[in-house]
């Protein structure tokens, strides 16, 4: 159904003139006496509904079914007409509910006998209906705003259902003419207004209601074109259940509905479908429940021509058999559609038993009754969020059968995927509904924020275990969890820094690292190489996120500062001087690689490091190995960072180191160079500078 077909707007015009107070002459016995009490009691006289009551309750039933199946944007405007018109609600979405309408109808009350019959007419209501049709709805407004350049595609059509007691065919023609004229007038008005739209098509459905036993004064007439703008059809119906049936057929025709009857519902207490059943066993002759829903749920049946069409253009109800509920829902994989339902007889006991059963979270599979052969499950009833849906299941062979295994495709032979970690990643990136009214400071839609988060979380995300060291280390977890956040708190930065210090400590203690030895010959890289790989990876990881905020940057700074050699290693370094030279070179290489943003290269980097390792073994033994060009000034490495660099509060390590340094300094006389140093630096060989006119100090400065 098109968004702005005549079904978008329906105006009910219900006649509220004094003659509608007339009895429908259909009597209802509401005093059903039980045998034991019957003696000596005069039963209450049966009550009978007025034409008005019949019209109102049947129109409300129409609305109920419509709102159940189309909860949004199939709108109803309810108008009552007597000596003037009374508009009971508007096109606003918030006004669209049977409760709103019932409340407004109660305020109107039944037709007033004392009103002057001459001044009363349904014409007032019909004119108001045309005016109402030209009023723009929320959806029309939204679409016109959304499609500025093609706003003319937003059509304005509508339907008027008039429930009245007409006098004759001539009277009906008069009503039609009146509508036609009002449309023309209204369209002229609409041309000069923003809130009004010209009516392009109007469908009048006139239902003439007359009491039981009366002669039919108005004849039925199928739809005919009065003008290019207006079509009209007339239904002449007796009040009471005939009227109810008529409006039920109309709602199906107007909104492309079809009917399914669920049969074989086991109303046994054991199945808990209907607990009260036993005590009323004698009253429930029929356990079938008829449901209405969009007709597409029957597409498969209609196309194959298995079902016949009734005179009114509707298909016969399709009977499906209840199948005892199952818990496994594998069938859902082949679900090809889900359609909202509305029970035809909503408060009958079988209906409410079935709907309550479904609302409580159970599902019912439905089977096509077949004369022979195996049973075919074609539909399933199940509720989601308090709404019941008829699910269409594919009952034929599926073209998806026997798909190839994912292990046959790309990456299918890799065995060490970080499945559990990715599961954790997915769970952190789960979605939750966000109220449409809430506004985020960034102005971005919730889903865009969700995507931004996924983007942040995947800046560096090695897919396999052997590709990563840091994500295999428990010690890195606190930092890894925090650094991917959009914003860090001071406390977060501290936790990250602590994580880094902890790693420094591990390195000092020479703790083993979970480095994969897969692919490399022998035992894999040596311990200090392992740490270098780990630090490189950590730096790469944090670098991808450091641009976000200053606090992220501080975590990166901390890593860069701390990965420098701790003091204990210094001695070792001195001993293996040549070895360090080599490391210096690899580190330079390493840094160049790290700057390359594509983290995927880290694998290659590792290979590179391994290779370097082997090459340098040779160099180490050679007495001719060249001296390094850049020597690290040892002083800075073991010194505490200058205070202006450490923006955050002083760390525990810094406090401790400061304390020890102060304590030690008291025990000896200060070295003259340190005493006269500037920024803890003292230029050596100052005489050379004078001789060569060259700044050696400058050359030896660390780049960090």
């Amino acid at each position: 159904m098109r968004m702005f077909s005549v079904a978008h707007k329906t105006v009910f015009v219900v006649d509220h003139c004094p003659y509608m107070a007339e009895s429908s002459r259909q009597q209802v016995e509401c005093d059903v006496l039980t045998k034991s009490r019957a003696q000596g009691v005069i039963p209450l006289a049966p009550v009978s509904k007025s034409l008005w009551t019949c019209a109102v309750e049947c129109s409300m039933e129409y609305c109920r079914i419509l709102y159940d199946i189309y909860p949004r944007d199939k709108l109803i405007n309810y108008i009552v007409s007597d000596s003037e018109f009374h508009i009971l609600n508007s096109w606003m979405r918030e006004d669209q509910s049977t409760h709103e309408l019932m409340s407004a109808l109660a305020a109107v009350g039944p037709p007033n006998h004392r009103e002057d019959p001459e001044s009363c007419s349904v014409v007032h209501g019909l004119s108001a209906a045309v005016e109402s049709l030209s009023k723009i709805t929320e959806l029309q407004h939204e679409q016109r705003t959304a499609l500025m350049d093609t706003a003319e595609r937003v059509a304005n059509r509508g339907r008027i259902i008039c429930l009245t007691n007409a006098k004759s065919d001539t009277h009906v023609r008069m009503l039609e003419d009146c509508i036609q004229e009002t449309i023309l007038e209204q369209n002229k008005l609409a041309a000069g207004s923003d809130r009004l739209m010209a009516i392009q098509q109007c469908e009048l459905v006139l239902v003439h209601i007359y009491p039981q036993g009366d002669d039919m004064l108005v004849s039925d007439r199928p739809k005919k074109e009065i003008s290019p703008l207006l079509t009209s059809e007339v239904h002449s119906v007796r009040a009471g259940r005939h009227l109810a049936t008529k409006l039920n057929i109309l709602v199906q025709q107007h909104f492309d509905l079809a009917s399914t009857t669920i049969t074989n519902i086991p109303m046994k207490p054991t199945l808990n479908v209907c607990e009260q059943e036993e005590q009323h066993a004698n009253t429930s002759a029929n356990y079938d429940v008829e449901l209405l829903h969009h007709r597409d749920a029957h597409l498969e049946f209609f196309k194959s021509g298995e079902f016949t069409t009734r005179e009114n253009g509707l298909k016969e109800t399709i009977t499906l058999k209840w199948c005892t509920p199952r818990t496994n829902n594998i069938e859902l994989h082949y679900c090809t559609g889900a359609y909202r339902i509305s029970p035809t007889d909503v408060n009958s006991r079988p209906s409410s038993c079935l709907t309550n059963f479904l609302l409580n979270g159970r599902s019912v599979l439905l089977e096509q009754p077949r004369k022979s052969g195996s049973k075919v499950i074609s539909h399933m009833l199940s509720s989601h969020g308090g709404e019941i849906f008829l699910h269409v299941l594919n009952s034929n062979r599926s073209i998806l059968e026997d798909p190839p295994s994912i292990s046959e495709g790309c990456g299918g032979r890799v065995t060490d995927y970080r499945i559990a970690d990715f599961g954790e990643f997915m769970r952190e990136n789960r979605l939750t509904p966000v109220s449409e009214s809430s506004h985020h400071p960034s102005g971005r839609l919730p889903v865009e924020r969700a995507k931004a988060q996924i983007d942040r979380h995947t800046r560096y995300w090695p897919m396999i275990i052997s590709q990563t060291t840091i994500f295999n280390m428990q010690a890195v977890v606190p930092l890894a969890n925090l650094i991917i956040k959009e914003a860090l708190t001071e406390e977060d930065v501290l936790t990250c820094q602590k994580t880094v210090y902890n790693l420094v400590d591990m390195e000092r203690k020479n703790d083993p690292l979970p480095i994969s030895t897969a692919g490399s010959r022998g035992k894999g890289p040596k311990r200090d190489e392992q740490y270098r790989i780990m630090w490189n990876e950590l730096e790469t990881f944090v670098k991808t996120l450091a641009v976000a905020t200053d606090r992220h940057q501080r975590v990166l700074d901390c890593i860069i500062a701390c990965r420098s050699k701790p003091p204990e290693e210094e001695e070792r370094k001195k001993r293996g001087r040549k070895r360090e030279d080599r490391e210096d070179r690899t580190e330079k290489n390493g840094n160049k690689e790290v700057e390359d943003k594509s983290w995927q290269d880290s694998e290659r980097l590792k290979v590179l490091l391994d290779k370097e390792d082997q090459e340098s073994e040779v160099i180490k033994d050679s007495p001719d190995s060249p001296e390094p060009l850049n020597k690290k000034p040892r002083l800075t490495t073991e010194e505490v960072q200058p205070p202006e660099r450490a923006k955050g509060p002083v760390s525990l390590l810094t406090m401790w180191t400061n304390r020890i340094t102060t304590a030690n300094s008291r025990k000896h006389q200060e070295f003259v160079g340190r005493a006269s140093s500037v920024n803890n630096k003292f230029e050596l060989y100052q005489n050379l500078k004078d001789e060569n006119g060259m700044d050696v100090h400058e050359n030896g400065k660390t780049t960090r």
Partner: protein
Amino acid sequence: MPTVVVMDVSLSMTRPVCLDGSEEFQRKNLAVHGLNMLFEHMASNYRLEFTALMAFSSLWELLVPFTRDYNALQEALSTLEDYDKTCVESALQGVSNVVQQEWGSACPCQVVLVTDGSLGIGKGSLRHSLQTLKHRGDDKKFPLPFPFPTKMFIMCVANAEELQTTDAMDNLEELLFLSGGDGQILTVDGPLCMKSVQAMFGLIDVAYSPFHAVLHCGNLSSDVQVFPRPEAVVVDDEVDPIPRTVNTDVDDVGGGATEELEEEPSASQAAGKSPNICVLLHGSLRVEGMVALVELGLEWYGMLHSQADSKKKSNMMMSLFEPGPDPLPWLGKITHLGPISEAAENPYGEDDSKSPFPVTPQVKRSYAQNVTVWIKASGLQTDVQKILRNARKLPDKTQTFYKELNRLRKAALAFGFWELLKGVADLLERECTMLPDSAHPDAAFQLSHAAQQLKRASAGDPQYAGFDHNIVPIPTDFSS
């Protein structure tokens, strides 16, 4: 979508083709050659397609039922025999039956009709079928359009000039039109020979080419192939009737997760040994029992999930939702799904014991809110009896009694059914007189109070006939 190859094996197909070379060919040989090429193409590029082979003359026969075994199809081609005259209508009836039996009427199908443009003579000829189209009863309807969506390729082993000497082309065009218009009529360009027929069959290869796309999950991405090809969808809502195509750059949006799909002309075949996000995602979805939301295009979404068959083979399946902003009402608008990290507390609970879904609508459906409908007399009787049953159990059932009474009152006021209010008031008064001596004194008070309130409402007194006004129990004190 599955394919039915319908091969004309009438005598006209045996007409020899004049070639300069020594060997003599029949049109049938050329057609078989072309089909062999097609099958080879499918076997290497589109091997998950199901294909059936049907031969027809005045009768039709299903030679190979739907299969992915292209050898079987080629083998059947090599053993074709020659029969009498061409009768397209009966063959199409056969296609309709075979397809519906196998796939039902919702599954789209491709039909490849291979013929020579000589479409039969007299009764049963295509010309005759088309001429009598409008004079048929319901039992003898022309099989087109098929109940299932159809893409029809008509392959004529004849060149255009040859077809123009008769009305064959017009008839074929009408046939294509009747099938729904989606498809093509292909003829041989230039003289009939192996090469030209091969070229003609090559033109439908595009319908059997793999669908390449790129799946993105944040910065992780992978080339993927989607089977069957996701076809463009036109949402005919008049306002925006633009065909929606699956953007080949698929964006993964988060679990219960988004993935994005992009056009890559040539996806490089990565080795099975290099890690792939699809395999990782599949594994984790399976272990966690989750699905990933995929953004396919503008306001078009789908989901990725792991699906395992009984043989323990499992693969990633992409289900496409109906295009639109909220394809599954119980998820709400997809654009309004945000990251859980923004929520004050994890909506899934710290131990996954909760879920923010389903999203429930603001207004309950009629079947979930105890509505009052008196269309059938039984509905009204039940409601009145319910009140009387509770009336006899006062004061124990005071609350239920008033609840039911107010429900009936509201409906009667809305329906303008004041007569009913009077009737029920009378009934309550009668119940009051019939109370047994053993009855609690409160019962009589409540009954006459309720009856009086109903009577006032039925008189239309605005003070008592308000819809939102409720009758409340009269306060009594019998405790002492």
